[in-house]
């Protein structure tokens, strides 16, 4: 389902609220929701430090939550909203899950697998292609990350 821009901002706002939960645990604040037919079917936020688990990224948490809720690993027909550009691991998981569309807020110039360093989700050699929409609530999504790293430096 192709969401109008205003709906996209609502779901990205939800992802930002999830990202804010990371402040309690010292994790880089990233939040993610998976949406099907206008309904949130999966959600997650970064818990890598909290759980000491390498796959604790927000997107993986949200994808697995959606798999549990829908009872299938095939998430075609779903959109994934995430505050920060997915890394290579998460980009690969998004392709594997056959997500229709990824909507992200801010780019990750050091590790981004969707636009910044790679274009995993649009690679014609893989068995699935994902539509990419970037820049939804970009200012807020950039700010939550830069605030985190600023306070990390100040606390050192």
């Amino acid at each position: 389902m192709n969401m109008p821009r205003s709906h996209r901002a609502v779901f990205m706002k939800h992802a930002l609220e999830l990202a804010a939960k990371c402040h309690e645990t010292g994790d880089v604040p990233v939040g993610c929701v998976v949406v099907k037919d206008g309904v949130v079917v999966g959600q997650g936020y970064n818990t890598r430090e909290k759980e000491q688990r390498v796959t604790g990224h927000a997107e993986i948490m949200a994808l697995n939550d959606a798999c549990s809720n829908l009872g299938t690993w095939k998430l075609d027909g779903c959109e994934l909203y995430v505050t920060l550009e997915p890394c290579v691991m998460c980009s690969g998981a998004i392709v594997n899950a056959r997500i229709d569309t990824v909507i992200f807020g801010a780019r990750d110039s050091k590790a981004g697998g969707v636009r910044s360093l790679f274009a995993i989700c649009e690679d014609p050699r893989l068995n699935h292609r994902v539509e990419i929409i970037e820049g939804i609530l970009k200012a807020e999504c950039s700010l939550i990350i830069s605030d985190f790293f600023t306070s990390l430096r100040l606390n050192k």
Copy 2:
């Protein structure tokens, strides 16, 4: 720790035994072990169909098992043995986990993220590089996959 070739075959044999467990569930047979200082610290096999979870690949199961056992998401000093070349998702997870060395058996020409389609683990733009050793027990690792797809075709 740099393992001699004979030790590598022992750990790949272990990964093959794990892969064989997939036959019970209809999953593509792939097995994986994570080794630190000559000791298995994590293991897993593909459970994507069984669990209907997109991250159910053998490497992700073994990495998360190692994180649980070692109490950290940083798996530096570890080797990862896997029967089939890792996909993009798993290659990204391996880099994120800071694995020292990946040893794989057979290439995956359609989805391989380490050699066949991408060279994720050796990309100089990412914040960690992984040594790659391929072809350990290649014949056995190829056979378990080709047997699986042959029987799948015969059963259709």
